[in-house]
């Protein structure tokens, strides 16, 4: 799903009519929408119809069938044939009663189903057929074991708890073939008639919930053995095939069905992200992961382990969508698995892991390949007794510089291999020489400029005073190199409303000087000396200033603000001082004052779900683009703290932040009391962050493929150089690769990411990350080493980028179709032959559907008027620079039960799936997605827990106003606070804690995060989506 895929006509767009037919068949009366509108509540899958009765299907039934009208038996026979009963469980086939209005003619041949537009077909189709097909859908998750059936011992435990291991070949569950798309819904009035949807369409066969996971088989071998490593290609079965009985997926519908009350399919029967996470944790957590082998798949981002750099970059720095690239571009096209790496070059490493070594070759500078300019790294092969080396990337043979010469040992390795980081490690740094500096001059230390909106609202809300007071202490915490006593970073101050106020805080002044620049049309820096100062030296003047600022504007009544000139001013100041730096802008309103970058309120809900919706994500005026370019060119990173009360056009305001590697923070309806802690923590964290400035990143690859597309908080002037005015520990760049040529399986696919940057002390450095991936001619190898979390990161970023140029609908459709395509390709090429009706998922992508569904349900891809445009633009921007761990949490929030804690243990409780079904009246849960955190309290939460947490006697006494838990001296409080702290730890944004009581209004907000459920904004439930994907796959297979 490359960008090109979005730009050009989507290759799968022809699937639309089919999908249209599909949804017409299933939709509630008003539905006429495409399947692609997955999140649309009007779409049939999503229509919430609580209380609807469903026919129950015996658990484990591989072919739960609804009442079958004549003509449908062909399908049901398929289902039967699939032998779900191999799991040893009795397939109770449930036959729902014939629909009362099932008066349609005999079911048409399946081939017609894909042509729903045919009136003839439509008029003759029978709606019950649909139900049956759905009812009988089943999912099989297939590992390579499907092919290599003899190896089952090391099968991935996955999420299946079925009691009996079975030969995998027999675990495929029968499902109706995909292409048997339901015919148009209305069997009376023909195609797309929406008013008289037959009831039978809702007859869903679902497995009864009374039996635990009846149709899942558990593979033996709970923990992966040592042979788990993918190098042992024939060791196969990491992934257990799983069979799932799948419910009808369209629970909406009238309840006039006669028949037993319906029950939901037990969600445990479909692949569980939690299970996958927990399994990885239990198998790999707490261990040492050494990066000594090319192409090995690292533990999941959610798994804590100690990482040892042994020649490849730590997964903290680079994660790939797959660790084995297909050898040829044909294979790649066939699989359509994105080949991408998510690079987080400044990622924080835990204390117990080794920080990066710094290599200093003095004036000689870094050693680089003469041809491709790749830096010396473990992939360079030394030859001719060490006098020369062959570049691993371009194969050029280079002379070893004399100062670097070293003899080789008996295996052809330099004897100083382990003494030199650049020979033995995946990641290290070089000290750069003057050639790598702007104008060949050593850089000055960076500067931080604080730019405070002092318009009426910010003064009135107390925000300005809060910021000024806080800065007095924060400025002592500016980042510094380990070995230095104080920070080299200089600071400057600007306030603004309709005009800009610069401050001279030179240390020898008795009092600060304020210089007003009102020429906002062509803003300039009014002073040279005394604007950027060392805080230690100018402390008294700066503190004097910070004391005065709130007073100075205390009686302001200026409510208009400017914005672009503020950035311009900061940038010009940095330019004049010849240094890179960060602007910290504290802004609260739509900049309506007459100045460049002036904005008007262009938010328009009528644009939603139209071709013009994309304009809402584009900047309103062009000046922000050129401003961003100038900022990047001058190493000026823009951090934006927004305090909006209404629409502020984040798509425009945030653009410069986005392109300069800055961070956007947003505090809606900022209240001093409740929001200060969140804001101040964010501010402190941002100021203290280790950051690389004025950075330029280059991704080099070995021959046969190359980086083609980049996503992130970056700026690209050309196709290869990734420019970032600054890059901090939380920013990740996702890079997509494409084949140029055939890849050699022996030499693999090598990637070197080099970031040239200026350190906080003003040293010019190069940070190098190397990683080697395997190549294979076997698609199975590719599927085997996929990493779903990285895939989702890629999908999210590319989709969020695509919405700038394509209609939301198309983007969503491509996401669905690509998901289906990847899975279909696996099914076709890697899984053993089985009935088309079976859904077979590769083990490494087992949770891909649920994650893709979460992505589709994200506010960015959901065009609903209830979701503020700014919120969508904000999320879009955040996600664009997120790393894998952040996207994982963002799209699939963490839901922790805290009512049954083991108070003695330090451990964080295991998460549960994000579904309402996991909640209970007697329980309390914490939910976090990296931006928000909720404490959900069931109505019957144990009083002792309430007492312990809130120090109030009962549920009714709990105030939901608080955003912090009180500090109480009891084990509950301490334990839960430590859990909250743990969740917050290492997350880029501070999460404000919201307390939600069951059955109170704010619960609606909370429920949006229960991503496996149907969303109130119309997103499909996990189950529904799985069904949809399955349909697509079936289509593709036919």
């Amino acid at each position: 799903m490359s960008q090109q895929g979005y730009v050009t006509a989507p290759p799968y767009s022809q699937s639309q009519p089919r999908m249209g037919g599909f949804s017409a068949g299933f939709g509630p009366p008003n539905s006429s929408l495409h399947y692609g509108h997955y999140g649309d509540p009007n779409s049939s899958h999503a229509a919430p119809q609580p209380g609807m009765s469903k026919p129950t299907v015996p658990l484990g039934s591989s072919a739960p069938l609804g009442p079958l009208p004549p003509g449908t038996h062909q399908f049901s026979q398929n289902n039967f044939q699939s032998g779900a009963s191999a799991a040893g469980q009795q397939p109770h086939r449930f036959q729902s009663p014939p629909p009362p209005n099932n008066t349609g003619p005999s079911y048409p041949p399946s081939s017609l189903h894909s042509q729903p537009a045919s009136p003839h077909t439509a008029s003759t189709s029978c709606t019950t057929q649909l139900a049956n097909q759905l009812n009988s859908m089943q999912i099989n998750s297939y590992g390579p074991s499907a092919i290599q059936s003899s190896h089952t011992s090391s099968g991935h435990p996955a999420s299946f708890q079925g009691p009996q291991p079975l030969p995998l070949t027999q675990h495929q569950m029968a499902l109706p073939p995909g292409p048997q798309i339901p015919p148009p819904a209305n069997n009376f009035s023909g195609l797309c008639a929406q008013s008289s949807l037959p009831n039978m369409a809702r007859q869903d066969g679902i497995p009864g919930s009374g039996l635990p996971n009846p149709n899942l088989q558990q593979l033996p071998g709970q923990t992966p053995g040592p042979g788990y490593h993918p190098q042992q290609g024939n060791y196969g079965p990491q992934m257990a095939g799983s069979q799932l009985s799948y419910p009808g997926a369209f629970p909406g519908g009238p309840a006039q069905l006669s028949g037993p009350p319906q029950k939901r399919l037990d969600p445990d029967s479909i692949p569980s992200p939690i299970q996958v996470i927990e399994n990885d944790k239990s198998s790999r957590g707490g261990q040492i992961y050494a990066t000594n082998t090319r192409g090995q798949v690292p533990p999941l981002v959610t798994t804590d382990c100690l990482i040892q750099d042994q020649g490849h970059a730590s997964p903290r720095y680079i994660r790939c969508t797959t660790y084995c690239f297909p050898s040829t571009s044909d294979m790649a096209k066939q699989a359509r698995i994105p080949l991408a790496a998510v690079i987080q070059p400044f990622a924080t490493v835990p204390q117990n892991e080794t920080p990066l070594y710094v290599v200093n070759h003095g004036e000689a500078g870094p050693i680089r390949c003469n041809r491709c300019k790749a830096y010396m790294c473990p992939f360079m092969q030394f030859i001719e007794g060490g006098r020369r080396y062959q570049c691993g990337f371009c194969n050029c043979i280079n002379d070893v510089p004399p100062f670097f010469f070293q003899h080789l040992d008996h295996i052809g390795r330099r004897v100083d291999h382990y003494e030199r980081p650049e020979l033995s490690l995946g990641s290290y740094e070089y000290v750069a020489t003057l050639d790598y500096c702007r104008n060949n001059k050593p850089p000055n230390p960076p500067a931080y400029i604080f730019m405070i909106d002092v318009s009426y609202r910010n003064i009135n809300s107390g925000l300005v005073k809060l910021i000024c007071d806080e800065l007095k202490t924060l400025l002592d915490k500016l980042p510094r190199e380990e070995q230095e006593e104080s920070s080299a970073i200089r600071v400057g101050f600007v306030t603004y409303n309709k005009v800009l106020h610069f401050f001279n805080v030179k240390s020898n002044l008795a009092q600060p000087q304020m210089m007003v620049v009102s020429d906002v049309g062509e803003v300039f820096v009014p002073l040279l000396d005394g604007f950027l100062v060392n805080f230690q030296e100018s402390r008294s003047v700066v503190n004097n200033l910070l004391d005065q600022i709130p007073e100075m504007f205390a009686d302001t009544n200026e409510s208009e603000t400017i914005f672009a000139p503020v950035i311009q001013a900061g940038m010009e100041a940095l330019k004049a001082a010849e240094c890179a730096g960060k602007l910290f802008i504290f802004h609260s309103s739509l900049p309506t004052a007459e100045a460049p970058g002036k904005l008007r309120n262009r938010d328009d809900k009528k644009l939603l779900n139209t071709d013009k919706e994309k304009t809402l994500f584009q900047p309103q005026v062009n000046s922000y683009e050129s401003l961003a370019r100038d900022c990047v060119a001058n190493g000026c990173c823009v951090n934006l703290f927004l305090f909006p009360n209404q629409y502020v056009d984040i798509a425009s305001l945030g653009l410069v932040t986005m392109h300069t590697g800055g961070t956007l923070y947003k505090y809606n309806n900022f209240q001093l009391n409740s929001d200060s802690p969140q804001f101040l923590t964010d501010l402190r964290r941002d100021i203290e962050k280790k950051t690389g400035f004025d950075a330029i990143m280059r991704v080099r690859t070995s021959t046969g493929f190359r980086a083609t597309d980049f996503f992130g908080a970056i700026y690209m002037n050309n196709t290869t150089d990734v420019e970032m005015a600054a890059v901090d520990c939380d920013k990740a760049v996702t890079v997509e690769f494409k084949h140029d040529d055939k890849l050699n399986e022996d030499s693999g696919a090598l990637i070197q990411c080099a970031v040239l940057y200026t350190s906080i002390s003003g040293q010019r450095r190069l940070r190098i990350h190397n990683i080697g991936l395997n190549c294979s001619t076997q698609l199975a190898d590719v599927y085997k080493t996929c990493e779903t979390d990285a895939l989702i990161n890629f999908f999210a970023k590319s989709a969020f980028k695509a919405i700038l140029s394509q209609p939301l609908k198309a983007v969503r459709e491509i996401l669905v179709s690509q998901t289906a395509h990847m899975l279909a390709c696996y099914r076709k090429n890697c899984a053993s032959p089985s009935a088309v009706s079976q859904l077979i998922l590769p083990d490494a992508m087992k949770v891909l559907p649920v994650y893709v569904n979460c992505l589709l349900k994200s506010s960015v891809l959901t065009g609903r008027p209830e979701i503020p445009t700014d919120e969508r633009a904000y999320h879009r921007q955040l996600v664009m620079s997120m790393g894998v761990a952040d996207t994982q949490l963002f799209f699939y929030p963490q839901l922790l039960p805290i009512h049954n804690l083991d108070l003695k243990s330090d451990a964080v409780p295991a998460a549960v799936r994000c579904s309402e079904e996991r909640l209970s009246e007697g329980g309390a849960f914490i939910l976090a997605n990296g931006l928000s955190m909720f404490l959900w309290l069931g109505v019957s939460t144990p009083p002792e827990l309430i007492q312990g947490l809130f120090n109030v006697p009962s549920f009714a006494h709990i105030s939901t106003e608080a955003t912090l838990l009180p500090d109480l001296a009891n084990t509950y409080s301490k334990k839960i606070k430590s859990i909250v702290e743990h969740i917050q730890n290492q997350k880029p944004y501070t999460m404000k804690l919201m307390i939600v009581k069951q059955r109170e209004q704010p619960e609606m907000l909370f429920r949006q995060f229960l991503v496996e459920d149907k969303s109130i904004h119309g997103g499909a439930s996990y189950v529904d989506f799985l069904c949809c994907v399955h349909k697509e796959i079936c289509q593709l297979l036919n």
Partner: protein
């Protein structure tokens, strides 16, 4: 006929008026044949300590096109309580307040000795005087220090309630807010971008609901309370603040690389000053005082680029149209000057630098607004320091010698029309029945605005006699002119000074000798000089000289007595005798004839001819050229002084001789504004050039016969001497061919 000299002097003392002709030729044709136009020099606010102003409104003629002020020349019918306007003959009723009027109970304005009278009127709110300092910071440390001290000192000289403001400039312009506690605040502008008044006011936060500025009606001040501006504050309130602020003023901090001039944004700084006052205090007395130490080098109004290798334009460049910034710069400053004049403010320029500072381009700022223009070598000279101090001098009655926003209106009797005025004024474009079609100077109007004026400010006003030859004026008829000057006094009072004069008509054919006798050659020289300078500014240089020569020859032809083609027979009457000499010196210098005094043991100090023959070894000369005071010791005197005779008791008289010119020079220096350059030199000294360039070169290297004789010093010049000039003049005057 000494009586005319007395008459002229009396008139000047009483009315501040000097006419070129004190008896007027009675027809248009004859008047044009007089060569020197009928014109006058008017000093509207000539100091009259003996004239107490009256505290009521003047009585005006009721004819809307006339509105002349009641004056001693009017016919009054005391019984009917009527008066007849002597300009339009309208009969007017006296206002009720004049009910008690009678022959013995006359109001002042009817008494003959009050041909000049001053009224104090109550109109509009009184606004304190405003002084806005615009200070260049691209100065040498020493200069800046001296300037800062002068400015700090000046605060004590300002009226206590005066408003004062500060703008500093270099590469950028800072408008300082003066009433800030705890933090010093300024608004900064870049020096490269011209801004409209509206933009400036917006950027300074001065915009408010628009107050219509009623142009041309300055007396009707907007009915609004005094706007308090953050940038203009009463001296008594902020003098401590401002003293500190000035004390902390630093040189422009932006680096100036080698081979560059500092970037000096004079043009925009001035523009902001003008815009600031325009927005806050239109039509109120205000002085913008620009202190600059070099040429504007960037932005609108730049005179030279910042590359030192490109020198500032010279006359040579200007003649060849090679001064690339000049036109644009001049235009910029002219626009500013006109705006300033419209607002009734004035601009002073104090330019102190060894090199040029671009006054040529900026001169209109002072010229059109009645501001001072002072040029010196450094702010650290007494020339600047004392001159600046003298701006705030007080007159005989203890009032500041400055007035603002004057509106001068001239009314004439019907035989006369107004051709124009030359002086520090702008036209108000008021056409009327007494405005001539033919313009001399700033014409086409009967009213002018003089934004800044002092008791010495003098305008030349030119008239045209329109009476036709065939409509003789009755015997004893007199022509009358009334000058009405409305202005803001330094005490912020609104005042009106009215001067009404009358002169006799004479038939030039039968009574030429009367006219001739009543010629004021000094006034005429000045009036011609002004015309010449005015023409020089609007036309090419050589033509002006030719024009001056022609006028002189024609005058000599008209009034000389001679036999045709006999130069030796040429004579001029006493009233014309000095005029050719004035013209000779005018041609040679930018100014009129300097005065030369000689001090010697042969007698008391005496005025001597401005001639090289006056330079004798045993003399001390004192030359006063207005801008320069030169004391020159003759060769022998200088040797004596070197020998130290003055210190010997027996030669005390020599000591006194040396001291005498110094004392006299000091006296001149004390009163002259601007303070002249003071040069003390001796025979052979380099500075002797100041003297040698001015004297008439009667002896040059060309007439060596005088060399070594005791009669003065030769001058190395190709200029003709007065003698040669006069010989030629005579020859041409008597020539029948001319």
């Amino acid at each position: 006929m000494a009586t005319y000299l007395e008459f002229i002097q009396q008139n000047e003392e009483r009315d501040g008026v000097r006419f070129s002709w004190n008896v007027w030729p009675s027809s248009r044709l004859e008047a044009t044949r007089m060569v020197v136009p009928l014109a006058c020099l008017l000093t509207p606010l000539r100091e009259r300590p003996d004239l107490p102003p009256v505290q009521y409104e003047p009585v005006l003629c009721s004819r809307p096109t006339c509105k002349a002020v009641l004056n001693p020349l009017c016919q009054v019918d005391y019984r009917a309580k009527l008066w007849a306007c002597n300009f339009c003959f309208q009969r007017n009723q006296f206002p009720p307040a004049y009910a008690g009027i009678s022959e013995v109970n006359q109001p002042a304005e009817l008494m003959p000795q009050f041909s000049t009278i001053e009224y104090i009127v109550q109109r509009g709110p009184q606004t304190p005087l405003i002084f806005l300092y615009v200070v260049d910071t691209c100065l040498e440390e020493e200069d800046l220090q001296a300037l800062k001290e002068s400015l700090q000192m000046s605060l004590s000289l300002l009226p206590a309630d005066a408003l004062v403001g500060l703008i500093t400039f270099g590469r950028m312009i800072q408008v300082h807010e003066l009433s800030c506690e705890g933090i010093s605040k300024s608004y900064v502008f870049r020096g490269t971008k011209d801004l409209t008044a509206k933009q400036i006011q917006d950027m300074l936060g001065l915009s408010r609901p628009a107050v219509p500025i009623q142009q041309g009606r300055p007396l009707q001040a907007p009915e609004q309370p005094v706007i308090s501006s953050r940038f203009l504050q009463p001296v008594h309130k902020i003098d401590m603040n401002l003293t500190d602020l000035l004390g902390e003023l630093q040189r422009d901090p932006w680096p100036v690389t080698q081979g560059k001039r500092p970037l000096r944004s004079t043009g925009v700084a001035l523009s902001i000053a003008v815009g600031l006052l325009e927005g806050t205090f239109p039509n109120t007395g205000a002085r913008i005082m620009l202190f600059t130490g070099g040429p504007p080098t960037q932005g609108p109004g730049m005179v030279v680029g910042d590359e030192l290798k490109t020198p500032i334009r010279s006359w040579h460049d200007i003649e060849k149209d090679n001064a690339r910034f000049m036109k644009k710069a001049t235009k910029h400053y002219e626009t500013l000057a006109n705006r300033t004049a419209t607002n009734g403010h004035c601009i002073d320029i104090y330019a102190c630098a060894l090199d040029q500072t671009g006054l040529l381009e900026m001169k209109c700022c002072a010229n059109l607004t009645g501001g001072h223009m002072v040029m010196g070598d450094s702010f650290n000279t007494s020339l600047f320091k004392q001159t600046f101090q003298r701006v705030f001098n007080k007159g005989l009655n203890g009032e500041f010698r400055m007035a603002f926003g004057a509106n001068l209106e001239v009314k004439t009797s019907r035989e006369l029309k107004i051709a124009g005025a030359i002086g520090p004024c702008v036209s108000l474009n008021v056409k009327g029945p007494c405005v001539s079609e033919n313009e001399l100077g700033i014409g086409g109007t009967s009213q002018w605005k003089i934004c800044g004026l002092d008791p010495c400010t003098t305008l030349a006003i030119y008239f045209e006699v329109v009476n036709q030859h065939n409509a003789p004026i009755p015997q004893g008829g007199r022509g009358a002119v009334q000058f009405v000057t409305q202005y803001q006094h330094s005490s912020t009072q609104k005042r009106i000074r009215v001067t009404t004069i009358a002169r006799n008509w004479a038939d030039a054919q039968s009574q030429l000798q009367h006219i001739e006798a009543a010629f004021d050659q000094e006034a005429a020289a000045v009036l011609m000089a002004r015309l010449g300078v005015y023409r020089a500014e609007s036309e090419e240089g050589p033509d002006v000289l030719r024009w001056l020569d022609r006028q002189l020859i024609r005058l000599c032809q008209k009034f000389g007595q001679y036999n045709k083609d006999d130069p030796n027979s040429f004579r001029l009457s006493e009233s014309f005798s000095l005029y050719p000499q004035f013209m000779f010196h005018l041609r040679r210098s930018p100014f009129l004839q300097p005065i030369l005094y000689a001090y010697s043991f042969h007698g008391p100090p005496e005025p001597v001819l401005l001639d090289s023959s006056s330079i004798l070894p045993d003399r001390i000369l004192l030359m006063d050229t207005f801008f320069q005071i030169v004391i020159y010791l003759g060769e022998t005197i200088a040797q004596w002084q070197k020998a130290g005779y003055q210190d010997m008791p027996e030669y005390e008289n020599f000591k006194h001789l040396l001291q005498a010119p110094l004392d006299d020079a000091q006296e001149i220096l004390q009163t002259r504004f601007p303070m002249p350059r003071y040069v003390h030199t001796e025979h052979g000294g380099s500075q002797a050039r100041f003297l040698l360039s001015k004297v008439n070169p009667s002896q040059t290297h060309n007439n060596l016969y005088a060399w070594g004789q005791e009669s003065g010093a030769p001058i190395l010049t190709d200029d003709v001497s007065l003698q040669v000039f006069m010989d030629h003049l005579k020859k041409l005057a008597v020539s029948s061919a001319a």
